[in-house]
């Protein structure tokens, strides 16, 4: 019983982290059909920038904000200079964003070196809630709350505001959206930077529990992709459910079948896609 509850909690908190990372990626996919291999780099660089803020004695909240804003700007730059023109060319997008991912990986190595770091978290978030024999680290509860807050805000923006309606229209049919006078290019740029912003938030938050280290970018990237494909591109609900599924499958897979853990993660994904090629909540 304790095993199941603890593992479920770990899975959910990892899923929450994945949601922060993949929520924006899903919108980017849904809106622009851009395969963004740089998304993992945004996560890693966000963590590094946040770390630098903490080294300068900045508070944790400022680390998250500065990390996210810097990365959002980098994302806007990359999108404007290159990706904007590669609409509909999957191969071009994959290779260009992969090129950036390699460059960012190397720059990270040049600037921050090859050592792994852990971002020190505030006193308030340390320790654990105790419930009988079980411990729930406060920091993991905090991640779940952050992800919940982001999900609610995103949902409100998408469903209850004019900008959100424009975004949904762009996801549904970019050509028609352009036809009724929506500035699809501007909306796309905003969504791309929002995705980069959230990935960096995930990077700083993850820095406090799995750490920031070279290679984290390509380690987390497939997870983000899998969340998006399983949930369906461009669907917020899909991203939430996909993140939870991946988080739980990953945790239980590693705990129950350590030898086959990645198989237990990726094989069900492939099975879902075999039945529904556009993901659980995606539309073609």
């Amino acid at each position: 019983m304790e095993f199941w509850v603890t593992q479920a909690f770990n899975g959910i908190s990892y899923g929450a982290l994945l949601f922060l990372l993949a929520g924006g990626l899903s919108l980017i996919f849904g809106m622009m059909r851009i395969v963004n291999m740089t998304h993992g780099s945004y996560y890693l660089l966000g963590g590094y920038v946040g770390l630098t803020v903490i080294w300068q004695n900045g508070p944790f909240v400022l680390a998250i904000l500065v990390g996210a804003l810097v990365i959002a700007l980098i994302g806007v730059g990359e999108w404007n200079a290159f990706l904007k023109r590669l609409g509909g060319q999957e191969l071009g997008q994959v290779l260009t964003t992969m090129g950036f991912a390699l460059i960012f990986q190397d720059l990270g190595l040049v600037i921050w070196g090859g050592d792994p770091y852990t971002i020190p978290t505030p006193q308030v978030l340390s320790g654990a809630f105790e419930l009988g024999q079980m411990f729930f680290p406060v920091y993991r509860v905090f991640i779940v709350l952050v992800a919940l807050a982001v999900a609610v805000v995103l949902w409100l923006v998408l469903e209850r505001t004019r900008v959100g309606a424009m975004m949904r229209a762009t996801v549904d049919d970019a050509e028609m959206a352009r036809g009724v006078g929506i500035n699809v290019t501007l909306i796309s740029m905003c969504v791309f930077s929002l995705g980069a912003f959230l990935a960096a938030v995930a990077g700083v938050v993850a820095g406090g529990f799995v750490g920031v280290y070279p290679g984290a970018d390509f380690e987390i990237l497939p997870y983000a992709f899998v969340v998006v494909i399983v949930g369906g591109m461009g669907s917020l609900k899909g991203a939430v459910i996909g993140s939870l599924m991946v988080g739980l499958l990953d945790n239980f897979g590693k705990a129950l079948f350590p030898e086959l853990s990645y198989f237990t993660l990726f094989a069900p994904m492939a099975a879902i896609l075999a039945v529904r090629p556009t993901g659980l909540f995606g539309r073609a």
């Binding site: 999957e90 090129g99 040049v110 494909i229 853990s261 198989f263 993660l265 990726f266 090629p277 556009t278």
Partner: protein
């Protein structure tokens, strides 16, 4: 006329390159010879991807899986069961084809971005097994001390020059098989599907079956490259089949020129040489490789062969109208 003009050049170029590859070994340092051997093996892999990417128009993000399947077959069979070259070769290619047959059923339900993503997930399944199925694959440590193949021939493949010729033979075999395939009616149908799937369907072609067979061929030849790779390296680890490798194969094909067969082989050798030579001089070779990725898309979206083809067309006299 324009096409035949270029094909005339192409025949000469292929002949010269083939001859150079054949006589080169005695003139090369051992370092360059190993790089050339590596290039040949990666060229096989890139050409196999070209069947589905260049000719059929399906970008796969999981092609490293077939390299891994071939390589792990050799690794496991030859170190655990002492299997010989032909058994390991047959097993490696067969396993790659069988896995491609299963993956194809799943992946070919989608196109475009969805195809990319599904092949990525499938590639990760194979990587995950290599990474975690420790009792079979030794996990991240990889399988080492794979012996070079022993064949009833007067020379030993443990030496680098004979092994180079083995790789060259493998490369030529793969090249001619693929060349026959792409020039056959079947290959032309694949090109037709790339240009317009709906039109081919209307014309009565079984589009799915053609794609599926193309997918199997790509997988099988990819597995063949993996077999040679394991023998060449004497070592196989999950790093050989990670996502970054799959993207690198895509780059090789795009850099050389999609749908030209010769182009991907050229792209593969450029990337192999670049990675190994640049890393001798600087630690910052990832920056350079990243720039090559971006530069390829910005400056040569049709690849080197595509750019050359355009150039020769522009240089040749304007065609008569009647030809079109």
């Amino acid at each position: 006329m324009r096409e035949t003009l270029f094909q005339g050049y192409q025949g000469v170029v292929l002949g010269v390159v083939g001859l150079l590859l054949f006589v080169a070994p005695p003139f090369l340092s051992s370092f360059l010879l190993t790089l050339l051997t590596q290039s040949l093996i990666y060229a096989i892999l890139a050409m196999s991807l070209d069947i589905i990417l260049g000719y059929t128009g399906l970008a796969s993000l999981g092609h490293a899986a077939y390299l891994g399947l071939g390589a792990y077959s050799v690794g496991i069979l030859s170190t655990k069961y002492g299997a010989g070259f032909w058994v390991a070769l047959a097993a490696g290619v067969l396993l790659a084809v069988v896995v491609a047959a299963i993956f194809g059923l799943v992946a070919l339900r989608a196109t475009g971005v969805y195809f990319l993503m599904i092949t990525l997930a499938l590639g990760m399944v194979v990587w995950g097994l290599g990474h975690r199925w420790v009792s079979m694959t030794q996990g991240d440590n990889g399988i080492s001390a794979i012996p070079r193949p022993k064949l009833p021939l007067p020379w030993s493949f443990a030496e680098s020059i004979p092994f180079y010729y083995l790789a060259l033979a493998g490369f030529l075999l793969a090249f001619f098989i693929l060349r026959v395939i792409v020039r056959s009616p079947f290959g032309q149908t694949l090109v037709g599907i790339r240009e317009s799937e709906s039109r081919m369907r209307t014309l009565g072609y079984h589009v799915w079956l053609h794609k599926y067979i193309g997918f199997l061929i790509a997988g099988g030849i990819g597995g063949f490259a993996g077999v040679l790779w394991a023998y060449y390296n004497g070592f196989v680890s999950p790093a050989d089949l990670q996502l970054a490798t799959s993207v690198e194969i895509l780059l090789m094909v795009a850099l050389g020129g999609r749908g030209t067969l010769f182009g991907p082989a050229l792209g593969a050798s450029i990337i192999v040489l670049l990675k190994n030579l640049v890393s001798v001089y600087t630690h910052r070779w990832l920056l350079i490789l990243g720039a090559v990725y971006i530069g390829t898309i910005v400056y040569a979206p049709e690849g080197i062969v595509g750019a050359l083809r355009q150039w020769t067309q522009r240089a040749s006299p304007a065609p008569l109208r009647a030809e079109t």
